[in-house]
Symmetry: D2
């Protein structure tokens, strides 16, 4: 950590900052320049609260020099993380994967028909929500565990893997037999209690970026899972909130190559939530793969207009077929397979 003192900082102020740093358990190197004094703190600086030093009298700026995440950083595993699933499926290697399915599991027919179409188009994971806390208490709240049972059955019938969202700690245990990949939604990206418990299990986690989260905060949240001993985390870009109102969120495609540079973890794109509009899902899915994503996750429904939730952003199955064909060509264009 670097503390840059103001040009007119007094010796007394400098000494106070040094004392505060030393008391925090770090070693301090002082450089007295012609214009200003710079203090370099060395040691266990990652737990130091920057703001605490920033407001001390005579301080100009405080900068963190070492990355605040360690296990999630690229240098921890320079070759990149590849996560292995049943059926020999891998995420994070040369092959780009597609996860698809309805927003909510609604009934047996719906999920089986979706599974058939997802598999037919070349998908690898079946997605579907079982728990749907809605803004209206009268709206459909999801099928719960019985829905997951159906989804698991449908997935196995068609050789697919299962990904579904876990919303609270109490759901982890009952979901374990049914899912291959636990999804943490954008609103829970900083639910540290949930992340801590997911760090204790031995199933991969799909961690979605919050709509107001920076890329650094996304990596810090993944660190929370990794530090529990669960190294199998896939990140997901799904749009951030900006001033633009033409889309529900602005999908930050640049997050994909940036995460690839900063971290060894795989990252996929979610153009359904990233845009909120069916007509933008395909263009943004293509953009995500073109930018280097390890996969995409999209909402698709055999009767998209009647979907119990998120109808407006759900693809028709035929649209999904077309998209998968385009993604196959784009994956090749960027040196990958699909």
């Amino acid at each position: 950590m670097i503390v840059a003192m103001q040009e007119k900082a007094t010796e007394e102020q400098i000494d106070a900052v040094i004392a505060a740093l030393v008391e925090s358990g770090v070693e301090v190197h002082r450089t007295t320049g012609e214009m200003q004094t710079i203090l370099a703190a060395v040691g266990r600086t990652s737990s130091l609260e920057l703001a605490k030093f920033e407001i001390m009298p005579g301080v100009s700026h405080v900068h963190r020099i070492s990355s605040p995440y360690k296990l999630a950083g690229r240098s921890f595993r320079p070759e990149g993380t590849v996560i292995e699933f049943r059926n020999g499926v891998k995420v994070g290697n040369r092959r780009v994967v597609a996860m698809a399915g309805p927003c909510s599991i609604e009934n047996r027919d719906q999920i089986f028909e979706t599974a058939r179409r997802v598999k037919g188009a070349g998908g690898t994971f079946l997605r579907g929500g079982a728990f749907k806390p809605r803004s209206s208490p009268y709206a459909f709240q999801g099928m719960g565990i019985p829905g997951l049972e159906l989804m698991r059955e449908a997935a196995e019938a068609h050789g697919l893997l299962v990904v579904s969202e876990v919303m609270e700690i109490a759901q982890i245990e009952p979901m374990l037999p049914y899912v291959d990949l636990f999804q943490v939604g954008a609103r829970n990206m900083q639910n540290f209690n949930l992340l801590r418990d997911l760090g204790q299990i031995r199933k991969p986690i799909l961690l979605k970026r919050g709509i107001a989260a920076t890329i650094e905060e996304l990596l810090l949240s993944s660190e929370y899972i990794l530090s529990g001993g669960n190294y199998e985390v896939i990140l997901c870009e799904r749009g951030i909130r900006t001033y633009e109102t033409a889309t529900r969120n602005t999908m930050d495609i640049s997050a994909i190559p940036i995460v690839k540079k900063l971290s060894h973890l795989p990252i996929i794109g979610d153009p359904s939530h990233g845009t909120g509009r069916r007509d933008l899902v395909a263009p943004l899915a293509r953009a995500a793969v073109a930018a280097g994503a390890d996969g995409i996750i999209v909402e698709v429904h055999p009767n998209a207009d009647k979907a119990a939730s998120d109808a407006a952003q759900t693809l028709y199955c035929d649209q999904f077929d077309t998209l998968m064909g385009e993604l196959r060509l784009i994956a090749t264009a960027v040196g990958r397979s699909f």
Copy 2:
């Protein structure tokens, strides 16, 4: 709801939209203009998903005409809501209130000394966190219920009320005997399960705005509590995320007069979280009261530099004394008391 068709929309497209609206259970009035056709949907439109119609062929824009919240709207209670607490304290009337205390309850001495100073300066509520899920698993996680017991004791010894944050449903019941006002933090503003359960209790709720939430979304979240039968909700502006990096968040002072216009619920300002910097707390607290806030909530600690959490934004007790004096004058300037 108004559906404006594109200028070149076909009769077939218009009919399809009308059919979809009717099927959703609303009545449709059609106005065929020289340039474009407009469809006005009348009836139970608040549960309609706008986006579903927005993406239909031939549609230009869809606008919600009726406010999406009813119980939280100003017209529901034009005279404004005043919430009564023990000791005759009221929030939402002419008197501006101050809630103050440490980020975390740390020990008996700390919370008693804080209570003494808060009361001495003219505060009404003692604030303090008992549950502190932190980004580092090694950091202080809060004292839990024993901390609330201490805070309650300290508050009663000094004639103060208690406000503390509830982070999950399981904490509601055990917290009930200790708090006068349940705080819902910014990260839980859209935790609908928690809001639903808080709608079932009969204690007031302090609902903080999420860092990426619009004012309308804040009011929708309050609606969730109100619709459960708990009409005692106080809103809180505590900063939103913007591109500006000089402050942790940008405190949206204009949200205060806007909420006053749109809703009958009281609103207070939290300049500690709104700025993240001790030196900005007083100016923004003054701004909040000048703009019409019903109160403020700030972090104060008898030994602010050593606070277990949020040290950088915590006021020294002497600063709090000075601030309270200034707020008294400003409250008078805007026709209120303090």
Copy 3:
């Protein structure tokens, strides 16, 4: 325009709004519903100031129903605009184009060598700035018209077209003999005097989106040029300002398919300014084409590290060669050529 009155609006308030609308020269249709009254204004509503009615007593919301732009709207030319240049080059048809060159024209060798490499890699336009007002008065301010002469010569020697930025009205006339495409930079997107004068010339305009401009505002600015009689406008997405600090701007890839839907004008992507980092230029250029862009504009320099400006975001020529190969494959994947 639709004016939705509040549920408790009085007849007096409704009459006042009707009177104000009529006085503004529009016709008003009133619908009195069970809950609220809705006023539909018909006629020349595009010049009405929404906010003026929004603040009238008793008004709930005001919505613009007709699109605020006419000439730029898709319905004005549903088949899309194709702009023709010298040499048979077209922008907006099936073929995706590449515009490339240095941030600043520096000298003869630099611009000729760049032209050779751009042409060799398959580029169509040579870009380069002649006027460079810099934040430091001591920094390089650009070569001016002599630079444009050099660029024109280099472009013609290699069969390229010339695109360069015009910064003020006084530069239009002297630039005319040298450029094929006038670029309006992000900071000038709402310089209405400049736009008005560019609407009077008969050369195509490349209009860049401002860093705080919505897509609607970008289209409104293009309308300004179109309404002057110059129908040859190409739009450009080059990043917007968000809270994310990992990139200088957040490139809004979704703007590309949205503009394609809302407008008939071609749109290209600028990943150099959109990201500010050389290592992100190629991924975002690929994403732009994958999302449907009609072209890209990138900074490339034969000696990128020594570029007089924007060095950090300027591609090496070899990187540009590789990128062009990738774009060729992606263009094919989305049914276009390159």
Copy 4:
């Protein structure tokens, strides 16, 4: 400037960075830590482009240590700048000032009547625009210099000073005889040519923050004027663009105390443009003064509903009277006069 190398940076990479720094004309101090190497660049670092080093292989982060502005920094004039005008008026000292008037000068009666009311309420400056480039080519474009003549006459008749916006370099000279304070609007905050020329004159400048500008960028723009030799700059907070749509902009009240800390320049608040809504002008004007602003600038019009521009955000004269009374009390509450 501090360059923090990655933990696994090679000696070769470190040497390359050192060489690049030295070539840029600065001196380099190297600290080789257990985990990572840190390079401190000393000397003329303010002209270095950070991004250029940030993308070099092996580099983790680059931080500017010294403030990028010198003349605008607090340490340049710790006691603060006080700007003197005719009539003994000062801005930046204990007394808070009010600038008020119509968006556009429309005619003799309007500007004289406004001047009378502004003076009567205790205002110091008469504001009014003479040049109004509008988004519609058919809208009122302003009265030009004849309007300024009228405003000057009205101001002198009532003992007021004149502030008006300059939009391009060519207007400086003709405006000189009429204005006491040149306003630079938000869209021109980074029009460096205009700023450079305003640095050459000897009249004070009112520099408004751009809607997407950081506080640091605002100070850098002021530096541009100061470095030309014109030290009389007043800054103005007038709202930034955020995701919130309830207001046209979000007025960043915290910018006021931050500027007070970072710079010696006076700062005022513009709640008219900061909110875009008449009903929010008074609350935000009060907030600005409560937060420490040296003044406010608001739009007021004797016939606000009929104002030729910005009607929705223009105060009625009676509202202005009331506001001035409130501001007088708030100024006193924060230890100032009005």
